[in-house]
């Protein structure tokens, strides 16, 4: 990746963190020190100007649609959780970025600002999904951090929407950390519909305890440049993780997504299912890796990636990988990219459906299976509608 990094000094970071507790200031300064020795994120295909993401970020309060929160569930701005001295924040924040981190991750920890904190106590089950929106304003760089901690047996679904004021063109650098205790279960839905000139650098990490279950349901439709990496650690036996990633790029949008599953324990299962649609001169780079470590006997890790090309000028690079160090596992991948089947278009047109409406239906059908698990029907429908409306002829 090209681009130089803005030089940050410890004094600047200390000033940035002046009102924060000592542990966080220390974490930020340590991260800044680490940053110098860490490599830059590498992607041959994606020209990220790192400088755009390396500055201290602005905070933006999350909009939380309250449901009746039962006792044992907390949802708040991360700043408030820090100020209130929640011990889980000190315990977990940044922990999942210690492994495999690169310089932008470290700089993020040194300079993140605000975000979301969600905690579900042991055995508590939230019946309705939590809906949270991060709406970016007119600033230059936003740097939220999302921390979700669910104790043993907790169950909750979270829907996070990333959007921005029309006409704004901020950069967004953010991170998500999800910690699931034993048998905890979470559907995490993230819908990225940022304005057309936004650049994003977004990292997600999750750690699953024994028999925990996490579904990442990721839908990307906005931003000029969207770079995201997701890494899920299956640490307890029987843990199950899925990525259901859908995206739709048009014009000159550039997406670079990386999904990694790390199987550390026996009988863990993972599935990465990605479906993208590209039109105009859009480009998608898609990496997936299922890593099955020596300790993960009986693990299963699968990947399916399909891209529907609506234009000859769009481009998709699909790079599926498997790293398997254990016997008695099941793993594999299938990847494909291709145009819409002209026989389908002809058939739909022969029923009086216009060419553009035919493509809309095909796109909706292509992506439908990935939106199934979104826990709220109206959210699911809204995402499906936005995907459909994006089809240009």
């Amino acid at each position: 990746m090209a681009g130089t990094l803005v030089e940050l000094t410890p004094a600047e970071v200390s000033a940035f963190a002046a009102r924060e507790p000592a542990w966080l200031r220390a974490l930020r300064l340590a991260a800044l020190q680490d940053a110098a020795g860490l490599p830059l994120p590498q992607s041959k295909q994606t020209p990220v100007a790192n400088a755009a993401f390396a500055a201290p970020g602005l905070g933006q309060a999350p909009l939380i649609s309250f449901v009746d929160l039962p006792a044992g569930v907390e949802v708040m701005d991360l700043r408030d959780a820090i100020a209130a001295g929640r011990p889980e924040v000190e315990k977990h924040l940044g922990r999942l970025f210690k492994e495999g981190a690169h310089r932008l991750h470290a700089l993020h920890l040194a300079t993140f600002a605000g975000g979301l904190y969600c905690r579900v106590s042991r055995g508590v089950e939230l019946k309705e999904p939590l809906q949270v929106t991060l709406e970016l304003g007119g600033g230059s760089l936003y740097a939220p951090h999302v921390l979700v901690v669910m104790d043993d047996g907790a169950r909750a679904d979270l829907i996070l929407e990333l959007r921005g004021e029309a006409g704004a063109e901020p950069s967004l650098r953010g991170a998500v950390e999800i910690v699931l205790g034993e048998a905890a279960a979470c559907n995490y839905t993230e819908f990225q519909r940022l304005p057309g000139r936004t650049q994003t650098y977004w990292s997600r990490r999750a750690e699953l305890g024994r028999d925990a279950r996490l579904h990442w349901i990721l839908a990307d439709v906005g931003a000029r440049l969207s770079v995201a990496d997701t890494r899920t650690y299956l640490r307890g036996s029987g843990a199950e993780a899925r990525v259901l990633a859908s995206f739709f790029g048009g014009r000159r949008q550039h997406f670079d997504f990386q999904h990694i599953m790390v199987h550390e324990a026996a009988h863990t299962t993972s599935d990465i299912e990605a479906r993208g649609v590209l039109q105009g001169k859009a480009r998608a780079v898609y990496n997936a890796n299922s890593i099955i470590q020596r300790s993960a006997k009986g693990a299963s890790g699968w990947q399916h990636e399909h891209t529907l090309m609506l234009s000859d000028e769009a481009r998709a690079d699909l790079i599926p990988e498997l790293e398997i160090s254990e016997w008695e596992v099941s793993a594999g991948h299938a990847a494909s990219a291709g145009p819409v089947d002209p026989a389908q278009i002809y058939y739909m047109e022969s029923r009086g459906i216009s060419p553009v409406e035919s493509r809309r239906l095909i796109v909706a059908g292509f992506l439908a299976s990935l939106l199934h698990d979104i826990p709220l029907r109206d959210v699911r429908q809204r995402i499906a509608d936005i995907f459909q409306e994006k089809v240009e002829l």
């Binding site: 089947d341 002209p342 026989a343 389908q344 002809y346 058939y347 739909m348 047109e349 022969s350 029923r351 009086g352 459906i353 216009s354 060419p355 409406e357 035919s358 239906l361 095909i362 909706a364 059908g365 292509f366 992506l367 439908a368 299976s369």
Partner: protein
């Protein structure tokens, strides 16, 4: 509205530079059921596909009008909205799109923006039409043609026809690959729709479907042209004697080419 009228004159159609339909004349009006019969490779299906506007077929000459409008100047979806329907031999599968959604979109494509069919009314009518074709209600939510048996696909074509109410329907080998019970069901479905507001053109190899839909006109197509026309008795004669006598009578002895 006047009775539907499809007029085909001197139609010539080619595919990949090869002429398949070589000057076809045919008029189908509302209330009429025409059957086009003939051996494989004589251009029956090519004619049907060209009428609908399949992009692989090239119209080399002639004309086709529906209610006086020039069909050949229209795009595929315009032809459909003008009232032409083609029940296809090999309908496409569309994953992720339910039959109900597909049909409602097709129906609404024919209606003004402010006159879209209410969802509840649509489902009521769809349900009634599925029942009359003995189609299981679960069909509505299954994806278009995905995992359908041959018979289900054909019944789905007829269901679409029933919902979309075309003015002229071309049924391209709607009986092929079906057992006799399925043929009966499909034929009865079509028969229920017959009226002066619908003209039907049935393309078939076999006479048996005509036992359940009485044709008003029967045509035999060979080597890209209609070589004989008559009433229902012509179909009976073909059933009894095959095509060979006609071929000899007309002095046609060229080998039969593959159906395109």
């Amino acid at each position: 509205m006047a009775r539907p009228e499809l007029i085909i004159e001197g139609l010539r159609v080619g595919i990949e530079g090869r002429e398949i339909v070589k000057g076809l004349d045919l008029t189908v009006r509302g209330g009429e059921v025409h059957a086009i019969m003939g051996p494989n490779g004589t251009g029956k299906s090519t004619m049907a596909s060209a009428l609908m506007g399949h992009p692989s077929y090239e119209v080399l000459g002639g004309s086709a009008t529906l209610d006086g409008q020039d069909l050949l100047a229209m795009s595929v979806d315009e032809r459909a909205r003008a009232g032409l329907f083609l029940a296809m031999q090999y309908p496409a599968e569309i994953s992720g799109v339910s039959n109900a959604n597909f049909l409602r979109t097709a129906l609404n494509a024919r209606r003004a923006e402010d006159d879209l069919m209410p969802v509840m009314q649509f489902h009521r009518e769809l349900k009634a039409k599925m029942a009359s074709l003995e189609i299981d209600p679960s069909f509505a939510e299954r994806y278009v043609n995905e995992g359908f048996s041959g018979g289900e696909k054909k019944r789905n074509e007829i269901l679409q026809m029933a919902v979309l109410r075309p003015r002229i329907a071309v049924l391209d080998e709607i009986d092929s690959g079906l057992d006799i019970d399925a043929v009966k069901l499909v034929a009865n479905g079509v028969s229920q729709m017959l009226s002066d507001d619908l003209g039907v053109l049935i393309i078939t190899h076999y006479q048996r479907i005509l036992n359940y839909i009485n044709p008003t006109n029967v045509h035999v197509m060979m080597q890209g042209r209609i070589v004989r026309s008559g009433g229902p008795e012509l179909a009976m004669e073909l059933e009894a004697r095959g095509y060979e006598w006609l071929r000899q009578e007309l002095g046609i002895d060229e080998p039969i080419t593959e159906e395109a």
